[in-house]
């Protein structure tokens, strides 16, 4: 005799509160292990990436520093820095976050958590072998694709396993409604394996390889880091505020415009280069069209936040994420302008682009990740962050460091471009004018790195459940703590 399987109830809207709660408990239980593994790993890679980046920045003040070995030369430190922060920190942290979100959003436990665990271990293996190869000088020589192709196989498989786990989880959903975060996450999980595998096909040479290189590298931002970060913002802003997103249809405009235009952006990195101009023009146009999804997202977030901005003082999650979302708007509009030929002429090949990249990947993506950690980690370990003070230190050092970095290096890059565009000035002028601003970059980078050590220490405390057991969160702002605790007294 066989018992019929219990019918799966799909709710039109929200299920009764007790069912919703039970679903959420089951969802969180299914993701706890892989999310913790992704989060632990990401914090380690953040520290590796910060230290290599800082050392690379210091080489501009002391060019002969640690010059005794090829392992620590600028070209290798810079490459290890990029790969550690892009693939180790940003990617692993974002995967951890979306693995945690998806089962909650579709009311179904994560499909085969072991797949996600395998993906996390595989991803770490890729990072260890990959960074070791880069330190040793084995590089494929393509920006964002430096890690040798043989090692790339590991991350392609890991990404595929992760995609499988997420796609099946969503297929087993028990909601009719697809929240916008689910759109972004699903699409990204499909995009990453596609772009990563095609970019590594060894069928292109010469300028065609440059084309594939930039098609990939910009999509690693546009179709992977950006949509996953936006998925977090779309989840956490309404979640923390306890109010729905302003406009569902506007968020779908944002999604489709991003999917179509961002995927075509890559060749603005080849402006002025030896490549058919119609292709570059296509990318410039698509870069300008990015104003549409960016504006749609910005308007949506703004109208969700409006009247609630004081909440930024109470919630570290909201503080990091809302600021990250604002920086997304600014850095994207900046990117659209940067792609225009008239502007590109000035800033292409300069440090201005480096400032822009950090503004985006750090100001937007990393800030949203930090905010997500502050929300998720207490729910993984059943322990509040022990110290409001450490959160404040993390926040202020990160934001001040980033401001010094981005403003300083943007000015330096602009002056560099000016010097290069004046043929009557010797090339060395374009080097000399950047020197004070490269020092500013090192100062900003030092603050950012210090903030990461504070964050990592605090993370270590919370996962080991140090400090007193709290019944309420540690406030991120002392004044709000006082005003909340003692109203009218």
């Amino acid at each position: 005799m066989t018992t019929a399987p219990a019918p799966v109830i799909v709710y039109e809207d929200s299920p009764p509160a007790d069912v919703a709660l039970a679903d959420r408990v089951a969802a969180d239980r299914s993701t706890r292990q892989p999310v913790l593994l992704f989060f632990h790993s990401a914090v380690v890679w953040l520290l590796v990436g910060s230290l290599t980046g800082l050392l690379a920045a210091l080489k501009f003040q002391f060019p002969d520093l640690l010059n005794g070995t090829a392992v620590l030369t600028f070209g290798r430190l810079r490459t290890v820095h990029l790969n550690a922060v892009a693939y180790g920190w940003t990617s692993m942290a974002l995967i951890g976050t979306v693995v945690w979100m998806i089962p909650r959003l579709v009311r179904a436990p994560l499909f085969a958590p072991r797949l996600a665990m395998a993906a996390a271990w595989g991803w770490n293996l890729f990072m260890i072998f990959g960074l070791a190869a880069l330190f040793a000088g084995y590089s494929d020589g393509l920006e964002w694709l430096e890690i040798p192709r043989g090692i790339d196989v590991i991350v392609a498989i890991s990404g595929g396993l992760m995609a499988l786990s997420v796609l099946v989880t969503v297929a087993r959903r028990r909601t009719q409604h697809f929240y916008v975060s689910v759109w972004y996450i699903l699409a990204s999980m499909i995009w990453f394996p596609i772009i990563f595998v095609t970019a590594n096909l060894p069928i292109f040479t010469g300028v065609n390889e440059a084309a594939v290189n930039w098609w990939y590298a910009h999509n690693a931002l546009g179709l992977w880091i950006t949509p996953l970060s936006l998925a977090c913002a779309y989840y956490f802003i309404p979640k923390v505020l306890g109010r729905p997103i302003h406009s569902y249809s506007l968020s779908l405009v944002g999604f489709w415009a991003l999917a179509f235009f961002y995927s075509l952006n890559g060749h603005h990195h080849l402006v002025g280069g030896p490549f058919p101009q119609w292709v570059i023009t296509t990318s410039v146009t698509a870069s300008v069209m990015m104003v549409i999804p960016v504006a749609a997202t910005a308007v949506n977030f703004h109208y969700t936040m409006i009247g609630r901005f004081t909440a930024l003082r109470h919630s570290p999650t909201l503080r990091f994420i809302v600021l990250g979302a604002m920086m997304y708007t600014v850095v994207s509009l900046q990117g659209s302008v940067e792609a225009l030929r008239s502007f590109n002429r000035m800033v292409h090949f300069t440090h201005y682009t480096v400032a822009h990249a950090h503004f985006g990947v750090y100001g937007f993506a990393a800030f949203i990740i930090f905010g997500s950690y502050y929300f998720i980690v207490p729910r993984l370990v059943d322990w509040e962050w022990p110290s409001g003070r450490l959160i404040r230190w993390h926040f202020w050092m990160a934001i001040v460091g980033l401001a010094i970095y981005v403003i300083g290096l943007s000015i330096g890059g602009w002056l560099q471009g000016q010097a290069m565009l004046d043929a009557s000035r010797p090339f060395m002028d374009s080097v000399n004018v950047t020197k004070p601003w490269l020092l500013a970059r090192t100062v900003g980078g030092t603050l950012m790195t210090a903030s990461h050590f504070v964050f990592a220490y605090h993370y270590w405390l919370v996962v080991n459940r140090r400090g007193a057991r709290r019944v309420e969160p540690a406030w991120s702002d002392r004044r709000s703590y006082i005003s909340m605790r003692a109203p009218g007294s």
């Binding site: 060019p63 010059n67 290798r76 810079r78 494929d140 920006e143 596609i194 065609n208 043929a423």
Partner: protein
């Protein structure tokens, strides 16, 4: 069609479409170019030097492309004629670059044909170019009491190398300079019909 399939199909279509527009069609277009110029494949030594160039990360500070005179001052700086797709047909991986922390190198062999200058500059850039931010690469050289007959001895300004020692280029340094001295894409283009910027 339910939303799941819409997202799935939408994601695949946008990525594949972008790949075709940005990579596949241009490759078909450029494969029609018949190069008639004197560019030769890299020799074994030059190719090995190119790998040293990549392993040391030179590409992160030096571009290898000269832009059109209407777009920047590359030509006025004496960096050579504008680059064309066929100039890169032996390049795997490409090294077009995205930064000019240092100058463009696609025609460095024309501007700086001296092997001795390159050795000294790699050993200590600031000995040759005051104020340079380039890393020094002493690990590409050997310090010896006395040079052998076959050695490439590096001539350095006084005070740059340890007293009483001679600085000798390692095989990697020799190959790297072989590669740098192969960087000459300044020959006249043989066929004006070839496709390039503006077409």
């Amino acid at each position: 069609m339910d939303r799941y399939r819409v997202i799935f199909a939408g994601a695949v279509i946008t990525a594949v479409f972008a790949f075709f527009v940005l990579a596949w069609i241009p490759q078909r277009q450029l494969s029609a170019v018949v190069p008639l110029d004197p560019l030769q494949p890299y020799s074994a030594e030059q190719a090995a030097g190119r790998r040293v160039y990549i392993a040391l990360g030179c590409l992160y500070c030096h571009s290898q492309q000269v832009r059109d005179p209407g777009f920047g001052t590359d030509q006025k700086r004496g960096w050579g004629r504008p680059s064309y797709p066929e100039d890169y047909r032996f390049d795997e991986p490409h090294l077009l670059g995205t930064m000019r922390t240092g100058p463009d190198l696609i025609n460095i062999a024309v501007r700086q044909p001296s092997r001795a200058w390159h050795y000294a500059h790699l050993y200590q850039p600031r000995a040759m170019v005051p104020g340079s931010l380039m890393p020094s690469f002493p690990f590409l050289f050997e310090l010896k009491e006395r040079a052998d007959l076959a050695d490439d001895v590096v001539a350095l300004p006084p005070g740059t190398a340890p007293a009483g020692r001679v600085v000798v280029a390692s095989p990697d340094a020799r190959r790297l300079v072989d590669y740098l001295l192969s960087l000459n894409r300044n020959y006249a283009r043989a066929d004006a019909r070839n496709m390039g910027p503006g077409h």
